[in-house]
């Protein structure tokens, strides 16, 4: 009897420990939803576009959301706007120079002002944002939603176990700070760019 109780306690303890362990979420979305949207004011009409080439990994601990770390990578060449000529200009050497700087990254180093309610956590994510080869430390208000056991349902395979982590955030950068036409063409293209983050990470088998 004692032996059985001890075994049960060990199994329970192990499962609790596993459940509380940080989960690694892969942000290469199998459904292709992940994108960073960007908006900036310009002559005639605002320029809006998306960057769909999102990848990266975020480690999230449901028991301690404040310990979240990770890195989101965006393929610079995946940035597109509706106008083909503008997209070409955006990719060119004068703007993003995607051939030389193929990646835009945001590496989360610390979460502060963490507030958790149910499966939602709001926080300020501090980290290193790299654009066109220039790295700056920025802070981004984010909302993390942990959808436990939702991975399989989302891909229409409910039998597949796994969690999802949805990250939403919005922030602005000054393009000149990252060497993108600093002080130039500001009457035509606003130096302030608004970036909207809406991405989901998967952790199959979590």
């Amino acid at each position: 009897m004692k032996h059985r109780l001890l075994t049960s306690l060990i199994v329970l303890g192990t499962s609790l420990a596993l459940h509380a362990a940080p989960i690694s979420f892969d942000f290469k979305d199998p459904k292709g939803v992940n994108a960073i949207q960007f908006h900036l004011d310009s002559l005639l009409e605002p320029i809006s576009g998306t960057a769909g080439g999102v990848s990266g990994t975020v480690t999230f601990d449901p028991a301690n959301p404040g310990a979240t770390t990770g890195k989101i990578v965006v393929a610079a060449s995946s940035l597109v706007v509706s106008n083909a000529t503008m997209t070409e200009h955006l990719h060119s050497k004068n703007w993003l120079d995607v051939a030389t700087y193929p990646e835009i990254t945001f590496e989360v180093t610390k979460l502060s002002d963490v507030k958790t309610s149910g499966n939602e956590t709001t926080a300020t994510a501090a980290g290193n944002f790299t654009l066109r080869g220039v790295t700056k430390e920025i802070s981004v208000p984010v909302k993390l939603t942990h959808l436990a056991g939702a991975f399989g349902k989302r891909i229409n395979k409910p039998e597949v176990k796994g969690d999802l982590l949805v990250i939403r955030g919005e922030f602005t950068i000054n393009r000149g700070d990252f060497g993108i036409q600093p002080g130039k063409n500001e009457d035509k293209v606003n130096p302030v760019v608004k970036l909207t983050l809406g991405i989901v990470g998967s952790a199959p088998g979590a």
């Binding site: 949207q37 009409e45 998306t50 597109v80 509706s82 106008n83 939603t145 989302r154 809406g198």
Partner: protein, 93 residues
């Protein structure tokens, strides 16, 4: 100038056709008042995560620069026709 009258007419009609045709084309394609679009964005919501997804449809929508170019060319052709005056007919006193 025996040929000036037909040239004048051709330029005037061409100008009107170019301006009118461009305006009709622009209006028929959605009368988009921004720059031309080569892909049209569509918003969708991922029902499971609630995330907004932008998908692009490969479709050309002429913008204001196409309208301005067409109308400008039409006006230029019509204005050019003014250089081909009607030949003055001699009148008897």
């Amino acid at each position: 100038m025996a040929t000036s009258r037909p040239i004048r007419k051709v330029l005037l009609v061409s100008g009107l056709l170019v301006a009118g045709g461009t305006t009709a084309f622009w209006a028929a394609k959605g009368a988009h008042r921004g720059w031309s679009q080569h892909r049209v964005p569509h918003k969708q919501i991922d029902e499971f995560t609630g995330l907004e997804q932008i998908t692009y449809e490969d479709r050309y929508v002429p913008g204001i620069e196409v309208l301005a170019g067409g109308v400008g060319l039409g006006v230029a052709l019509a204005a050019l026709s003014l250089f081909f005056h009607k030949p003055k007919t001699a009148t008897n006193p």
